[in-house]
């Protein structure tokens, strides 16, 4: 379970949000909403431990995430704005490296199946620099199909650059992960239909408005 207590984030002179608390349990989806520049990405990076909150703390299964960083990272899959693909490697090689670093054990067959799930199996042997933006996103997301063992998925704008078919595929994947007791945190501007036991929602605009009013 992921628990946030009184998180505050300040970038430069600007305070993006403060006093943000939530609890995310098994099978729950957390959707972070807010206008551009409201701090969605910062919040997600704080959740990953890439960014230090200016106040407050995050706890994973009752322990601060910074205390056991590597243990926490093994439970986590993060897909950010950047696809984390090497242009000169093929889609399959990129997936192999990502899987190895993420501690997943998967053979080439399972990787091809993961790429196939996102409809990019035919690009497996092509360097990713010649793929389109949407195809590159699909290759990046194929990691998720191998990551069922990691309970917490943190996804920054996972639906960007995807076509309708891929959006549906990703929704299925997220729903299956949640159904098996996983947790998902995502930001998106699109309306998405993910079947989840509980959907939590943090609206950073509303949060900031409440802060200003207070």
């Amino acid at each position: 379970m992921l628990e946030a207590r009184e998180l505050e984030c300040t970038r430069g002179e600007r305070r993006l949000f403060s006093g943000l608390s939530f609890r995310l349990g098994a099978g729950q989806l957390l959707r972070v909403a807010g206008a551009n520049g409201s701090g969605k990405t910062s919040l997600l990076r704080i959740m990953c431990g890439l960014l230090l909150p200016s106040a407050g703390e995050l706890r994973w299964r009752g322990r601060p995430i910074r205390a056991e960083r590597e243990e926490y990272c093994r439970n986590l899959v993060f897909i950010g704005h950047l696809n984390a693909l090497k242009d000169d490697l093929t889609a399959l090689e990129n997936l192999q490296v990502a899987a190895a670093l993420g501690g997943m054990t998967a053979d080439a067959g399972r990787m091809l199946a993961a790429l196939d799930r996102f409809g990019v199996a035919h690009c497996a042997e092509l360097p990713t620099k010649i793929l389109s933006q949407g195809q590159r996103r699909r290759v990046a997301l194929a990691r998720l199909a191998l990551s069922a063992a990691a309970p917490l998925w943190i996804l920054d704008e996972p639906f960007s650059a995807l076509d309708v078919g891929a959006v549906v595929e990703l929704e299925h994947l997220l729903a299956a992960h949640l159904a098996s007791g996983g947790m998902v945190v995502l930001t998106t501007h699109q309306e998405v239909q993910v079947v989840a036991h509980t959907v939590l929602r943090i609206d950073l605009d509303v949060h900031t408005a409440a802060l200003l009013a207070a």
Binding site: E70, L82, N83, A84, L85, A100, L101, G103
Partner: protein, 222 residues
């Protein structure tokens, strides 16, 4: 842990192989700089012998520094560095993998090329051997120190100049003892003391540099 290190190493070597041009650049730079000196200075053999260690070492140092920009910056740009920070493996280990790959790609070719280039300076056999050994100990040291500077300047504008400023004071002792070892052999005093000191620096850097680079990378990503 070793598996993760292996994967990082494999990935970086594969990338270097796919972008051979970048690798060859540094080596060609090294060869050109070293080869121009005998042409510019003239064919006086004793003068060439005297300046050979310094020239070869300075050229190796600059060639190594040129390639530092490629150590972390591309990974930072495409987001793979983020994934390394979240890999669930100690970052120090992954950094070590990258440094080893950097040395294999930009340090080792210089070591292998050095004896051939040393011949242009009429270096005797024992001096050539010492030159190779000193570069073999010294170039990993250059990669390790360079990794700290590259990590510290990650994402900073004009980082090339900044890297040079940060790294040069730390490179100077390596240069002095590296070039000094060859000079000492030529002078007949023996290179052991110089090489042992270089080895000591290397041991120290092996322990401290990956750790410092990893800490600097975490700060750079905030």
């Amino acid at each position: 842990m070793i598996r993760a290190l292996g994967w990082v190493l494999r990935r970086d070597l594969l990338l270097a192989f796919r972008r051979r041009g970048d690798v060859v650049n540094a080596l060609v730079f090294f060869i050109i700089v070293v080869s121009l000196f005998p042409l510019g200075v003239g064919p006086e053999a004793s003068q060439l012998r005297n300046m050979a260690p310094g020239v070869l070492w300075v050229a190796a140092l600059l060639a190594c520094m040129l390639s530092l920009a490629r150590l972390f910056a591309p990974d930072h740009q495409d987001g793979t560095l983020e994934q390394m920070l979240l890999a669930g493996e100690p970052l120090v280990v992954l950094v070590m993998g990258k440094v080893i790959a950097h040395w294999l790609v930009s340090g080792l070719p210089l070591v292998l090329m050095a004896p051939l280039l040393g011949l242009q300076f009429d270096l005797p056999g024992d001096a050539l051997a010492v030159l190779c050994v000193s570069l073999l100990i010294g170039t990993p040291l250059l990669s390790l120190i360079g990794a700290v500077a590259a990590a510290l300047t990650l994402g900073v504008r004009g980082s090339g100049v900044l890297v040079a400023l940060l790294v040069l004071p730390l490179y100077v002792p390596v240069l002095i003892f590296g070039a000094g070892s060859v000079g000492a052999t030529a002078a007949g005093t023996g290179a052991e003391a110089h090489l042992l000191l270089l080895g000591g620096f290397l041991a120290l850097a092996l322990v401290l540099a990956p750790w410092a680079s990893a800490a600097a990378l975490r700060i750079a990503m905030e």
